[in-house]
Symmetry: D2
Amino acid sequence: MSRISTHCELRYTVAERTSFAFAVLAAQGRRQRVIDERLTLAPEQPVQRVALGPGGHELVRVVVEPGGFGLTYDATVELSAFVAEVPPSVEVPFEEVPAEVLAFLNPSRYCESDRLTRVAERTFGELEPGFGRVTAICNWVYEHLEYVPGSTDGSSTAVDVLVGGAGVCRDYAHLSIALCRGLGIPARYVSGYAVDLEPPDFHGFFEAYLDGDWYLFDATRMAPLDGLVRIGVGRDAADVAFAALVGEATLDTQIVCTIDLDRTAPSDPTTAAISTA
Amino acid sequence: MSRISTHCELRYTVAERTSFAFAVLAAQGRRQRVIDERLTLAPEQPVQRVALGPGGHELVRVVVEPGGFGLTYDATVELSAFVAEVPPSVEVPFEEVPAEVLAFLNPSRYCESDRLTRVAERTFGELEPGFGRVTAICNWVYEHLEYVPGSTDGSSTAVDVLVGGAGVCRDYAHLSIALCRGLGIPARYVSGYAVDLEPPDFHGFFEAYLDGDWYLFDATRMAPLDGLVRIGVGRDAADVAFAALVGEATLDTQIVCTIDLDRTAPSDPTTAAISTA
Amino acid sequence: MSRISTHCELRYTVAERTSFAFAVLAAQGRRQRVIDERLTLAPEQPVQRVALGPGGHELVRVVVEPGGFGLTYDATVELSAFVAEVPPSVEVPFEEVPAEVLAFLNPSRYCESDRLTRVAERTFGELEPGFGRVTAICNWVYEHLEYVPGSTDGSSTAVDVLVGGAGVCRDYAHLSIALCRGLGIPARYVSGYAVDLEPPDFHGFFEAYLDGDWYLFDATRMAPLDGLVRIGVGRDAADVAFAALVGEATLDTQIVCTIDLDRTAPSDPTTAAISTA
Amino acid sequence: MSRISTHCELRYTVAERTSFAFAVLAAQGRRQRVIDERLTLAPEQPVQRVALGPGGHELVRVVVEPGGFGLTYDATVELSAFVAEVPPSVEVPFEEVPAEVLAFLNPSRYCESDRLTRVAERTFGELEPGFGRVTAICNWVYEHLEYVPGSTDGSSTAVDVLVGGAGVCRDYAHLSIALCRGLGIPARYVSGYAVDLEPPDFHGFFEAYLDGDWYLFDATRMAPLDGLVRIGVGRDAADVAFAALVGEATLDTQIVCTIDLDRTAPSDPTTAAISTA
């Protein structure tokens, strides 16, 4: 159990009437409890919080008139992650994958798993199934990629990143997810806050479905796995953009800050078998 | 109101234990009622029908031992499509798009709407919003593409098809969907049966979300819109493959046959504003 | 006949021993005569001018030690373009394309003409062959693209630009070239200086092989065709980069300035049939 | 020194007047001498042999009226390869690459070396320069790819093949070439005949420019390096297609047969440092 404090602040100059959908709220869940939170908009206005359906995260939807606009969100979150003492050595066979998990086997915009099947099979096909195999994928992605801000953009996919050899957190997650799906392991993208991230920012990582549970992985090794606060999950980053907008607005300031209030010894992102889903 | 009879028959040679998920069942819905259906497997075995959650279609999941294997499905379906006398001239603004529809604005594996935003905007941005604009997209896709079986494959996307200038029904749908999403119009892929399709086969078309309802479109003009029987919907064809399998099996025979039992005068696929969702 | 003055100045900070190859010299040719030129390097050093073989341009090759480095080039060029009073209505049939021209029918890194054959054929296949058809391609490219600095980068190809709907001069040329080759018309990229370019910069345009001569085209319409001074030609921009380097150097300043000394009435870039090759 | 006999036979059904350019003639060169050759066309007609300029191969150009058409070519070729006893450990620095070799550093249609720079650098950047490094590239390509006829097509590039993990001889060559160029090593595609190829066919391999000479490499390991008879070289396969045609013709029969007349002990394709250029 650990308590984490998250803070985010986004300030825009809005040039014309703009409709926003923010995905910045910490998710409520079985193993992640939001103890306390405060969301403020400036100028003040009624906040519409909209749940994206079963398993979906909550959006903040707001329409803003031209001028300055800011959103500030603070939360204290209690994580009671499940930690498998013995990491699962079981991948769920296709016929037993639950209906609601099946979509996470499909290729998606940024994770073209259908194109990477053969490479996934040749590189990881001989390994023992389960947690160790997904860890091997993360290690391979970590070795293959260089972390270079600006090397990719919003249209870069797992294939682009594999070819280009560089990326940022979302790219690490996309390539890992695509390789998992290529092996028949359901995998999904998670957006969130991360303790100790340097430089501080939102973070993107992923979960793989093993032995009936969603296990956390982060191929970037930039944060401890028990310091990750979930905002939302999706097929890839397209589903959990921190801010989507229709209209015209410029982001002037973005401040993100995430602190472990209990300063527990962090887990090792390369060996811990943790689930917070 | 019309009654349509659908028939499909799939026969495989299974080389090793194979796990199948078929999406061939006619969907039950408000405006599409399955009056009568029969599903048989050979060799006989218990059938597992699995719903994919709210709004999702039903899968037939089955594990098959090596040898011959066949699935036959017959249904009689009653369509009571809503036909808008005056086609909707309203596109739903971003802030009013319902939470469960938002995902159909996102780019997906085969519909890279994020890459086509500018082309969509330049080509269709000046047109009156609503049904007429989506029809203009369909007409443009119909003119731009040549229907050439074999010109694309399972990894071809809207971008590939735009560049290559040819495709089959799923490609027509993907390109249309990507252009709709590029304009901010939610759009989704529909798989189904289609009366009068030549040669007979499964069919792929799409729906756009206008004025609070899902309207049917088919840029191929190969079938009347009121002769389309829905199997399932998804972000693109990846979500509604007729047969997904893990194992090793060869499809030897595929027979699909769809008949309008009432022989009503077919609707014009380029002007009818029809919703069966 | 017109006289044009070109000026270019490139200043670098060189971090480690760097080997440069510059393609900035005005080409000597039958219809473009360099009357006067001056090339200076700072710090001074012997200049190696290397011709790239028959028909090729001249490179300035130089190895620079760490520190500041500058290249300045001034030339006065006399153009005696051939102007066809009646634009050619002849495209050279494949069997008559001279051996040294054949390579300009092949797809190249930035001009994937093999992927665009069908679109080229469907869009321009019915038009009368010759100058008018290539002009139609230029007009189409001009209409289809938006000129947006920064919208593309050094790896963007004709296909990317067709899909993205925006680009800069090299992208306009690449897409035009790819469409020409897709129709069986040899086409090549030309780098050069352009009178009246706003903002001043190097320029990229193209030539198509018609009726036994290379005719100039510029789909950007940013400069008069008789104000174009040729540096070099190649299959696409990869062959005529203004500066190629191995080592580490930062371009601090780039000044390009091109003046028509005779201030003749400029030709219309959409109708003039001009050859300077 | 070895003598090799090559035979090729191509038979077409020509549906409309068709213009062909064949690249099937064994090249004359310093280290490859054509002792004896016979080219016959059926129906008989005058043969136009056209050289593609300095260093270029010879084409057979012919225009054929509708009906049957066949080309048969037989040659006896004497190879006197240069075999380096000590493989070269020198890569030519950029400033010393001869002008006529520079183009083989540029990215090309099927070898997008600009996109693979980082992967090339990370994977092979630390290795000793020279023959050993290019051999390491070949070994890596051999391990990474599966030889699967039909897995790629005429538009597949080095990037596609890297992602897809499979290909045929031209794909092996393209990926190897792109990786070489990404490291600053000039590399070019060679088409030819290959002793012992199974199944018999034309072959594609490559040469890298090391220590002032072009060395032969073949990442497929399908033929001994001293059993390779050169037809032509180019930037990639686009430049040396065995048959290019404008018109309409169907290839009905293709027979290729290559025999080592001296049955010498074949060289090892993974260690021999051989140049026939």
